[in-house]
């Protein structure tokens, strides 16, 4: 069941332009004047402390929130309502407990739903569990099913809202490798929101740091893939980003440690 026989050739990822994007909830301004260009097929990671507005940005890209000001352009067309190009993977897997694994993956598919669903499950290595209830799966497996569900329609834009933050360390590494491999194979544009700087540097072509609703850092990561989290270049980039997020606190902490 190769995908070549079941689907047409895969289109490239979405080109994403974010222009003067602001979002307020009541009097609280969560995002102010965000400008960001994402080229097709790029992997962008958005990091920041909790409450910095990074998840709101992702929800704006998904069309789950409407901007207070500014706009989101998909391939040059302004986004109105739900973003049907995009698929979202949430922090919690949000599987339907009353559907078996395969029926969860094939959610909303009309023709060849089972066939496509099985293909997607093969991609995440869970084809053998297609007839199980989702409650019988582990947390990592549930997120893999959610990933299969997101990829089954071969979206051009994948929005990842901290999908690995609830996983244990080993499962998280597996999941990161899986997402990287599928992204390389399928050429979609990916936007990952995370609070884990190492994860961002491991996966992304570019790391965006958001603080108080504005972009603080826009750091290109040009390390060759697959990346080695233990390498000196990796550690250097990671520290650089971390220092910008934590500001003076990290530096003074270090100096204090050195002094003692």
């Amino acid at each position: 069941m190769s995908r070549k026989t079941t689907t047409v050739a895969h289109a490239a990822g979405t080109q994403l332009s974010i222009r003067n994007l602001s979002k307020s909830f009541g009097t609280a301004q969560v995002l102010r004047d965000i400008d960001l260009e994402v080229v097709p097929g790029e992997f962008v990671a958005i990091v920041g402390r909790s409450g910095c507005g990074k998840s709101t940005l992702l929800r704006l890209l998904a069309g789950l929130e409407t901007p207070t000001q500014g706009e989101v352009l998909l391939d040059g067309h302004p986004l109105r309502g739900f973003n049907s190009d995009a698929r979202v993977m949430f922090q919690d897997s949000r599987l339907l407990p009353w559907r078996r694994v395969l029926d969860n993956v094939a959610l909303g598919l009309k023709r060849n739903g089972k066939e496509h669903g099985l293909w997607a499950l093969q991609q995440v290595g869970l084809a053998s569990r297609s007839q199980d209830w989702t409650t019988a799966l582990s947390g990592g497996q549930r997120q893999r099913v959610a990933l299969a569900r997101a990829l089954v329609t071969q979206p051009r834009l994948l929005l990842l809202d901290e999908p690995m933050s609830a996983l244990d360390a080993l499962t998280r590494i597996e999941m990161q490798q899986l997402i990287e491999r599928l992204w390389q194979e399928q050429n979609f544009t990916a936007v990952l929101v995370t609070h884990d700087v190492e994860e961002a540097v491991y996966l992304a072509d570019r790391v965006i740091v958001i603080e108080n609703g504005s972009i603080l850092v826009n750091q290109e990561i040009s390390l060759p893939r697959p990346r080695n989290a233990g390498s000196a270049a990796f550690a250097e980039l990671k520290t650089k980003v971390l220092e910008r997020i934590l500001g003076d606190r990290l530096r003074t902490g270090r100096e204090a440690a050195i002094a003692s």
């Binding site: 998904a62 789950l64 739900f82 049907s84 995009a86 698929r87 979202v88 949430f90 919690d92 949000r94 339907l96 407990p97 009353w98 559907r99 959610l107 909303g108 209830w133 989702t134 409650t135 569900r149």
Partner: protein, 267 residues
Amino acid sequence: MQLTHQKSWSSWTRWLSWEQIAPWLVPFGLIVVWQILAQAGIITTRILPAPTQIVEAAIRLLQSGELVRNVGISLWRAMIGFIIGGGIGLALGVLNGINVTAERLLDSSLQMIRNIPHLAMIPLVILWFGIGDQARIFLVVLGVFFPIYINTFHGIRSIDPNLIEMGRVYGLSRRKLFWQIILPGALPNVLVGLRYALGLMWLTLIVAETIAANSGIGYMAMNAREFMQTDVVVLSILLYALLGKLADVAVRILERWWLPWHPSQHG
């Protein structure tokens, strides 16, 4: 020899394990004690007839066709009332669950009516419908309606909003959202309501049939009371218990059928 013996013993215990026998020991023991006390004359027949007398009464009424006819008419009333009341309750529960405007208009009125014990309506119901089947069915409708309505409404409202958001992100239409996420998500609560409703259905019918009826299990009991036939009275009470138990079993079967995914089914 040893082997075959063990095998037959194990198949015997598989048929009747201790877990299966245990719940029946107490009721069976009580019946034996009751029979002994009744036969010894310690309990007079007027207070409580012996179990064997009740069985005799059941056989007598079965042969005359009275039992089948009365149980049949009671079942029919229960069913009609249940279908009407349950149907309206389900429909209104769904409507108010998914539509905020409908909830604002209807829910507080329904909550007010809910607080009236439906059996308190009997005098009014008799004035409206007379003493025919309509009155009895109307009372069953009232009794069944509220548990189904409240649990359906609550079931829909307590669905994880994240799942609905996910469905919308994944391109489900409103209709699909309802059939694939909202209704299956509310179903465990609907079945809880169903179980309550079935209990109330029999309760209502017992009361309704003891007031001015000329058929049904309740009538059979009231009629027997006038002729001091304690055995038939007790038989009628046992019939209600049996029918209530059957209704409960039916709901359990529905749960196994409709909620195979639910944690309660994997215990």
